[in-house]
Subunit: 293 residues, 2 copies
Amino acid sequence: MGDLYVGVDGGGSHTRARLRDASGRRLGEGRASGSNLELGIPVARAAVLAAIDGALREAGLGPQDYRRLHAGLALASAELPECYHAFLAEPLPFAEVRLTSDAFGACLGAFGGEEGAILIAGTGSVGLIYQGGRVRTCSGRGFPISDLGSGAWLGLRALQSALLSHDGILPPSVLATRLLHHFGGDQAQVVAWASHAIPADYGRFAPWVLEAAQDGDALAIALRGEAIAALSTLVGGLIQMGAPYIALLGGVGQALAGALTAQYPDHLVEPAADAMEGALLFIQHKELPCLHP
Amino acid sequence: MGDLYVGVDGGGSHTRARLRDASGRRLGEGRASGSNLELGIPVARAAVLAAIDGALREAGLGPQDYRRLHAGLALASAELPECYHAFLAEPLPFAEVRLTSDAFGACLGAFGGEEGAILIAGTGSVGLIYQGGRVRTCSGRGFPISDLGSGAWLGLRALQSALLSHDGILPPSVLATRLLHHFGGDQAQVVAWASHAIPADYGRFAPWVLEAAQDGDALAIALRGEAIAALSTLVGGLIQMGAPYIALLGGVGQALAGALTAQYPDHLVEPAADAMEGALLFIQHKELPCLHP
């Protein structure tokens, strides 16, 4: 009955766990709802346990194997000291637990535990540099004050532009027509919706922009250009801050990786592996820096 | 004891009234807090009365002269049918009352009652065209979904950029330093502030941008350029929609009038008079269109 290793990647809406044995053999995976620590420690703790239970189940194992488990947890908001300490104050029933942020987990996965940098552009956007044994982040403070080039930001720009097209100020556009049609063709419904929309609501329209841009819609192409410019500013900033290599992650980041790599061919690289692998590296390599030593 | 005419211009934070006699002689002015109809009908009604009372007082008159008064009211949100009808359902004690929106009042003032168009860029931004006896508006649906080029929008862009400068992603900037300093040099305070900031809060930083741009700060100049581009799109849209002449109003509009007039020398004109004069014209010329006939 040897040691088991589990890597957990937890964000706002999903938690994923991957189980390996001491030789590195993949035994199983599990999923659960979000474990961003800002959802509340009990919520995050339950989601982490549920995802790990799923991975154990797939491996033909169960709670009786908890004490064999070395768990690396890469959870959103673990970069906040109060969240980090509150989570670890309620220990899990495993042999060992080590906690870091989902962004650092993603960076470790992308660079196989070596130093590097990532730019995540999903619903939000955030840059992280791991260099000289130190972890720094930039941008990523939430929408609308930050997170430029993110899905939420792209969705907002699309709706702003769709309303201007509806008014006749911007030319007609397939994207604008689709967006207005989604709101029953009634601009007042867009306004009512916006009064209580959260970033994820805006972000849902980002794929609409990217799709319409591929179909040749001029407005969508212009908005995609704006997103590329915003992410290019962040990539350029990360390089300026000393990042040697940068992996682009997240749905929007992946979709725009081609255009950005053309701009920074010497700096942008493909991620080696995902954040679950990063979390596995984090529990196996104690020399990797702790965010709150 | 002849007829008296009062023109009232009411927005979200201020209400202003100007009193004239039948020969057009200016008798007095009064001020009160906001009378945007969305603040609630009783609130708006009280502010309108207070502003008119102030104008009567300055003229050596008082409530005994109410029945001599013909009141033209140009109040924000009167373009919304439900607000318009709710306000008029509780009549004022004057000889006559006629209600329209602050934007149409501003347009009538700017063009001396003739047809024309305005672009107001203050905390928000909105375009209005009065042409062929018909009034149409564009943009102006609130921040952040609309109101591009407005003070709120410019303030948001400034704070977004200040955070990127703080991170080292954008170059150092006097404007960025000033903004961070306002928040005690602590980016976390900006984030906390943003979580409950309303458009007027963002708009308060727009003059900081325009001032720093005049002082030659590169970031501020770039942001001013963005605002000019956004307002230029709106001006171009109004021309496209058939507006022959456009007056630029509002603090941001006035500040950027020079740059925009250089782009549209044949279309941008100085306003002839203010919205109180527009409201006076509205009560004196019954042929001027009612927003909700």
